[in-house]
C-alpha cells in the first residue's frame, strides 16, 4: 500500500484504503496569522470553550505578515499571543520563520506523524515522511482542542524521478515541469509520493520544494519515504522517527508518473497560472523590476547558497530590486555564518526578515501596476504579489539570481559552470 495508507493503518492498528473516512489522533497541528483569528473565534465563540488546555502539539505561527505591517495585523498578532497563553498553544512569534520550515527544523514534526496545518502548503512537511494535509480554521481548532480529526484517505500517485539533475537545474524545475504536465488540477483528490533514483541526490531542502509545489497540482498531500538522506538529516539533528512503518511499497497506487530529470532545463511558470510552464529561453525578453528569493517554497539554506554563488562578485542590475528572505531564523543565522548574506548584500540585495510577506502580497516588496517579478514562490495568479496588473514569473533561486543580474528572465547555467 502507499505510504500514507501505511501511516494511517499503523496509527489506527487496522488497514485503511483510499476513500475511507477515518478519525485519527493528530500528532501536530498549526495555524498562521491568516487562519489563526478564525481558529480563536471557533474555539471561544462557536465551541464556547473556556481556557481549555490545547493538546501539547498545537502551534501558532506569526509568519504571513510578520513583523506587523499595519495595525490590523498587529491586532491579530496580539490576539494570537493572548490566546496562546490562555489555551496553551505554543506560539512562534515574529522572527522564528515560516510555519512549514520551522516545524521541520525544530523537530515538531517527524517521520510517520499525521499532521495538519491551517495553510494550503502544509504538504511541504511530507518531505520527511509525514502524512500532512492543509485544513481550514475549524479543523485546526478541533484538532487543537480535542486532538482528533476526520480524514478521507486519498489515492496516491507515485512520482518516480530518474537520473541526475544537470548543473543549474534545481528541484523547483522538477516541480514546475510536473505542474506543467499534470496541470493545476491534475492531482485533485490525490496525494503524491516521490520515489526513484534521483532522490539520493536531493537534500531535505530540495525535497521540501517538491512536496510544497504539489499543492499547486491540487494534491491533498505529498510525501517522500524516509531513506538514507533523511536518516542522516535526522541523526545530525538528534531527531528520531516518530512512527516506524513496515511497509509493502509497490501496490496500491492509482497512477505512476516517471520523470527523467537529467533532460530538464531551467523553467519558469509564466503568469497567469502555475501550469503555464515555459523554458527560460522562451521568456528571456521580459524585463524584470523585482526579484524575490524566499518563501516556504525556496527560502532555505540551499536556495540562498545558490543565489550567493551566482551573485558572488556580481551586481544586481541597476533598476532591479532583489529581495531575499530566509525562511527561518535558523536559516538566516547559518547563511550569515557561511558568508552568503554578505555576498548578497554586497551584490545589492535587500535582506528581509523571515516572513511569507511578498509571496502573499502582504508586505516587504509588493508590485505596482505593470511591474514584473521573478519569484521563487509558489503562486502567480493576478494580484498575488500586489497590483492585479503586475506579473509574476515563478522560478528556481538560480534563475531568480541570474535574472537579478541581467534585469530580465535569465538562464543561470552560465554562472554555475
Amino acid at each position: 500500500m502507499a505510504l500514507i495508507n501505511a501511516i494511517v493503518s499503523k496509527a489506527l492498528g487496522k488497514p485503511v484504503s483510499p476513500g475511507d473516512i477515518v478519525v485519527v489522533d493528530i500528532d501536530a497541528v498549526y495555524a498562521q496569522d491568516g487562519t489563526a483569528p478564525l481558529v480563536i473565534d471557533v474555539v471561544e465563540k462557536e465551541l464556547g470553550l473556556k481556557k481549555k488546555i490545547a493538546i501539547d502539539k498545537a502551534y501558532f505561527f506569526v509568519d504571513h505578515s510578520s513583523p506587523a505591517p499595519h495595525v490590523a495585523a498587529a491586532t491579530v498578532h496580539k490576539e494570537m499571543r493572548r490566546f496562546s497563553k490562555e489555551y496553551g498553544v505554543k506560539l512562534f512569534d515574529v522572527g522564528y520563520g515560516i510555519s512549514h520550515q520551522v516545524v521541520v527544523e525544530e523537530g515538531l514534526v517527524r517521520p510517520g506523524m499525521i499532521a495538519v496545518g491551517a495553510d494550503s502548503h502544509t504538504p511541504t512537511i511530507g518531505a520527511i515522511g509525514v502524512y500532512a494535509t492543509g485544513v481550514g480554521s475549524t479543523d485546526a481548532a478541533i484538532a487543537m482542542m480535542f486532538g482528533k480529526l476526520w480524514l478521507k484517505i486519498p489515492e496516491t500517485v507515485k512520482v518516480i524521478l530518474y537520473g541526475s539533475l544537470p548543473v543549474g537545474v534545481m528541484s523547483k524545475d522538477i516541480a514546475l515541469y510536473l505542474v506543467g504536465e499534470v496541470k493545476t488540477d491534475g492531482m485533485l483528490g490525490k496525494a503524491a509520493e516521490f520515489r526513484g533514483s534521483t532522490l539520493k541526490e536531493l537534500s531535505i531542502d530540495s525535497r521540501m520544494t517538491l512536496t510544497n509545489m504539489c499543492t499547486e497540482m491540487s494534491a491533498e498531500s505529498a510525501i517522500i519515504p524516509v531513506d538514507d538522506v533523511a536518516r542522516r538529516w535526522l541523526v545530525e539533528r538528534g531527531y528520531e522517527i516518530f512512527r516506524n512503518i513496515d511497509w509493502n511499497d509497490e501496490e496500491g497506487y492509482v497512477d505512476e508518473i516517471p520523470v527523467e530529470v537529467s533532460k530538464l532545463e531551467p523553467l519558469v511558470a509564466a503568469p497567469p497560472d502555475v501550469d503555464n510552464v515555459k523554458s527560460v529561453d522562451e521568456v528571456s525578453n521580459n524585463e524584470v523590476d523585482q526579484v524575490f528569493i524566499g518563501s516556504c517554497t525556496n527560502g532555505r539554506l540551499e536556495d540562498i547558497e545558490v543565489a550567493a554563488r551566482i551573485l558572488h562578485n556580481k551586481r544586481v542590475k541597476e533598476g532591479v530590486r532583489c529581495i531575499v528572505a530566509p525562511a527561518s531564523r535558523r536559516i538566516y543565522v547559518e547563511a550569515l555564518k557561511r558568508g552568503y548574506i554578505d555576498i548578497l548584500i554586497e551584490a545589492g540585495c535587500v535582506i528581509a526578515p523571515p516572513t511569507c510577506g511578498p509571496c502573499v502580497g502582504a508586505h516587504m516588496g509588493l508590485l505596482a501596476a505593470g511591474e514584473i517579478a521573478v519569484a521563487t514562490t509558489n503562486r502567480n495568479f493576478p494580484g498575488r504579489m500586489g497590483h492585479r496588473e503586475s506579473k509574476v514569473y515563478l522560478a528556481s533561486p538560480a534563475v531568480a539570481a541570474a535574472s537579478a543580474i541581467e534585469g530580465r528572465v535569465a538562464d543561470p547555467r552560465k554562472y554555475l559552470s
Binding site: V42, A118, D119, S120, G136, L188
Partner: protein, 173 residues
Amino acid sequence: MIIRGKCWKLGDNISTDHIISGKYKFEAINDINKMAVHVLEEVIPDFYKLVSRGDVIVGGRNFGKGSSREQAPRLLKLVGIGAVVAKSFAHIFYRNAVNIGLPVVVAKTIPDISETGDVIEINIASGVIRNVSKGVEERVSPYPREILEVLVNGGITEYIKRYGGLPWSRSIR
C-alpha cells in the same frame, strides 16, 4: 433536507480568492458580515445584493482551489447560498464547507446543462439533484452517514456542542 433555489452558474477553477480576496483578510477580521459585500465581487459584481436565500452555485472543476481560507465557504453561506454543486472541489474547500454546514455536491451532468437563473432542487439525503427549469435529474453518490449528520446539524461545531463528539466516534474528550 431539501434545498431549492436559483442557479448561479460559474466556470472552472473558481478560487478562494475569487470568492473572497485575501486583501480583505485583515480589514474585517472581527466582523465576517463586513466582508459579505465583497463575496465573488470580481466574478459577479454586487453578488451579495443579487443572491437570495437558498440559491445554488453551480461550478465546474476544482471549485474552491487555492488557499485554506475558511472565510470562503462561510461567506457563501452567510449571503444565503444553500449549496454548491460542481464537477470537483478543492479538498480544503470541501472539508471547510462540510465543517461549516454548507452542502457541497459533486455532479457530472448538472454543471454542463445548467444556466444562471434555472431553478435547482437538491435532496441532500438521497443524493438527487434536479434542474427543474431544464427538467434534468441527476443521481449522485449520497454522503456517508456521518457527513450527512454534520450537514443536517448545521456544521461540525454545532454537532460537537450537541453530541459532545465527532459523528464517527462520539468520544472526543
